[in-house]
Symmetry: C2
Subunit: 445 residues, 2 copies
């Protein structure tokens, strides 16, 4: 059996910033910007208030910021809280091969660490690339069996990605990096049973905190197995019925998983994205306001109705499971961000009226990325839009401007516009900063 | 499927101290005394120094004591550190049905909590009984498949035991207790691959800390699944190929798993215990000193040579895997505590000389608890001792006096004798104290 734990550790320790292609560095910056907006946007969710009320009395010195809030906590708790808020709306990034949300564990851990032990923007971006590489390669090696078993792979693989990224920033040597990965592997956890509860966003937060702790322990030579990932009683064999070490080894250092990261344009499950995309395009191309619509017919993949068939949602959360509400929001607002999934918008009479005019029918010739939306207007015209792959997918990635608009949509609910401008400016140039932690300090309320 | 998470939660919430039999309360006190001695004894191990150096800079207010040391940390870190030290020598308690070490996760969590939010001794003992009940019943429901898969069951089940015990002390209602168990279930972790490294004692410490955190989050209404244990994607099905809910439900409230707890008299794997027991008995019955021994022949179960066949151990740790050293220590010292597994004793020429006279042969008619030890003396006499079940097993439990001697052997290496007397006195009467946390404060260096 290949000693993949050591191979990964050696790669992370020996990797030099210069070996990271410029395009990959830019992908890392996009990942960071998207994550930061989500973390600021989710920072005042009820789950954040609860977690802070419960844990702040045990927190240590004010070493790092809780983004979008006034609290400063020790770096372990800051990593936990920022990880929770970044996944609160299920609006963060997705590595589609594994459905890992890569940034939550890695960015939450390294930004907290960078605020306390300053590092350059280059080192920060480098650690981000490496952390995502480690978590996604480990994810690839056990996916899909591991996920199918019931593991929330963002938590289980994320803790090792966070450990690797923090270990890089701490300057661990190879043996210490092996231990950091092992200490992380033995904390690998997170059950899919928790989806729909506050424990879902808890998983990336906990992975960030525990990955950071693993690196801190390894830095002082706390020992673990040298084969935490690949041993018969290690991570891969205990938590999965499939383990393909070639997914970890092949192309290591020459291909980068962060290049495959995607960013949701809409704050709901990916299955409705093609329909919303079609509605927004129809709206914008024909300057529709919603009032002129007589009826809407969407031909969709079977999973759409299975997962999001809720006809009369009553809350913002229920709206995320309603293709009808989502289509109506697309027509009326040209968007389906967190705001369009607020309780108020879901109950808005204008939205409800249009929602009731939407029909969705299963078309088994459609694959998951496809849809055909037909709109009948009151003036008798019929418009239609076919989507082959939704905006935000790998085939039609969000532009930097899209990401910026998404960031503003999330952050401006929390911080003053001038501050949002400043944070966004810093985030785009994080790789050039003298101290990457300055971004966190700037994003404090 | 029975809703065992709710059944357990309701039982813990509704249980009254008066419903715990006096014998069970005494078992809880014995469990506490044994755990406390182990935690004090292990408190200056290198792994503890490392963990403190790494994590103390992130710790919060001085809420709870690190036993046997001068540091005071927030309750989460204190629970972690005391859990690590209590398992450092592998000398703590064993629930033989599951090989769970029950006290590490539960006692470490509730003692830290009790020091910060004072509770009566009765409430403390009650929570200890309930926490052990929860972790061992959950363990029974998935054992042995769960353990065979590679999970360190002390960590995986322990986190839920710690959550239940802390939740009881915090006065959670039924729904909150369900959440506490769920938040704990989704943190369930710990790989057997880590055995032989510092991560092994890390597991009960981490379970204590995370179980306590789960209860604190649930107290503020942080939500989880209501079926964290039994759901198709919950703890039992994801982490085990066997799940028998009757092990959780049957007899709940009328039988107590803590009654089945055992305490090691010797600081090594249980497989050598019958041999050491025989050697100690021969020594004491015949007033042997070791010098008069010509040769020793032990007839043993095959596992003894498989696991502990090291002929020439060079370090204390290696000594634990040597039936030869262990037998020699039994003859010379009449004991095999942590002291007899120090580097110095393992290298002592007198011990080495006797060790080299020990032969162990497999006798396949022996079961694991049995041994026959024959000693040939220089004066020509032959002595023998047959052991049917070793001291410390359920058939021959350690007496309270044995536990007290063990406690002193561990604690007197760390604290002055007068302080050991005081701590031991408090520990035996923990159930009668006005504030159980006083024991922790008294055990500080």
């Amino acid at each position: 059996m290949e000693e993949v734990t050591r191979i990964l550790a050696r790669y992370v320790v020996e990797s030099r910033f210069e070996s990271i292609p410029a395009t990959t560095r830019h992908h890392a910056t996009r990942t960071f910007v998207n994550w930061l907006g989500c973390a600021i946007g989710g920072s005042h969710h009820e789950g954040m208030d609860i977690a802070l009320a419960a844990l702040a009395p045990m927190a240590g010195a004010a070493q790092a910021s809780v983004l979008g809030r006034s609290e400063r906590l020790d770096i372990l708790h800051a990593a936990l809280l920022n990880g929770i808020s970044s996944h609160m709306f299920d609006f963060d990034d997705t590595h589609l091969k594994t459905v890992i949300h890569p940034a939550g564990p890695v960015c939450s851990a390294i930004l907290a660490l960078a605020e306390h032990r300053p590092v350059s923007g280059e080192d920060f971006v480098h650690a981000l690339v490496l952390g995502v590489e480690v978590e996604c390669r480990i994810g690839n090696s056990v996916y899909p069996n591991h996920y199918d078993t019931g593991w929330h792979i963002t938590g289980t693989a994320g803790v090792m990605g966070a450990a690797a990224a923090c270990g890089k920033l701490l300057g661990l040597n190879e043996q210490q990096m092996v231990w950091a990965l092992g200490i992380a592997a033995t904390q690998s956890s997170g059950l899919r049973e928790m989806f729909g509860t506050m424990c879902k966003p808890f998983h990336p937060g906990n992975a960030a905190k525990n990955g950071l702790m693993s690196a801190l322990l390894a830095e002082k030579n706390f020992t673990s197995s040298n084969r935490g990932i690949e041993a018969p009683r290690g991570f891969a064999h205990v938590l999965s019925t499939k383990f393909d070490p070639s997914e970890i080894i092949d192309g290591l250092g020459s291909t980068f998983e962060i290049d495959l990261n995607t960013y949701k344009p809409f704050a709901c499950g990916i299955v409705i994205h093609p329909i919303i995309d079609a509605c927004v395009q129809l709206r914008n191309e024909h300057k529709l306001t919603g009032d002129e619509i007589e009826s809407v017919l969407a031909k969709v993949h079977p999973l759409v109705l299975e997962l999001t068939g809720k006809k009369t949602p009553q809350t913002g959360l229920e709206g995320k499971f309603s293709v009808y509400h989502s289509a109506a929001a697309g027509f009326i607002y040209g968007a389906a961000g967190e705001r369009e999934y607020s309780d108020a918008v879901v109950r808005d009479t204008k939205v409800v009226a249009l929602r009731d005019k939407v029909t969705a029918v299963v078309d088994s010739t459609m694959h998951e990325d496809q849809t055909l939306v037909e709109v009948r207007l009151k003036d008798g015209r019929t418009l239609s839009k076919y989507v082959e792959a939704a905006i935000g997918s790998l085939k039609r990635p969000q532009t930097d401007a899209d990401l910026e608009a998404k960031f503003r949509g999330l952050a401006e609910d929390v911080l003053p516009k001038a501050q949002v401008d400043k944070v966004l400016g810093l985030a785009w140039k994080v790789g050039a900063l003298a101290s990457a932690g300055d971004v966190a300090a700037a994003a404090r309320k």
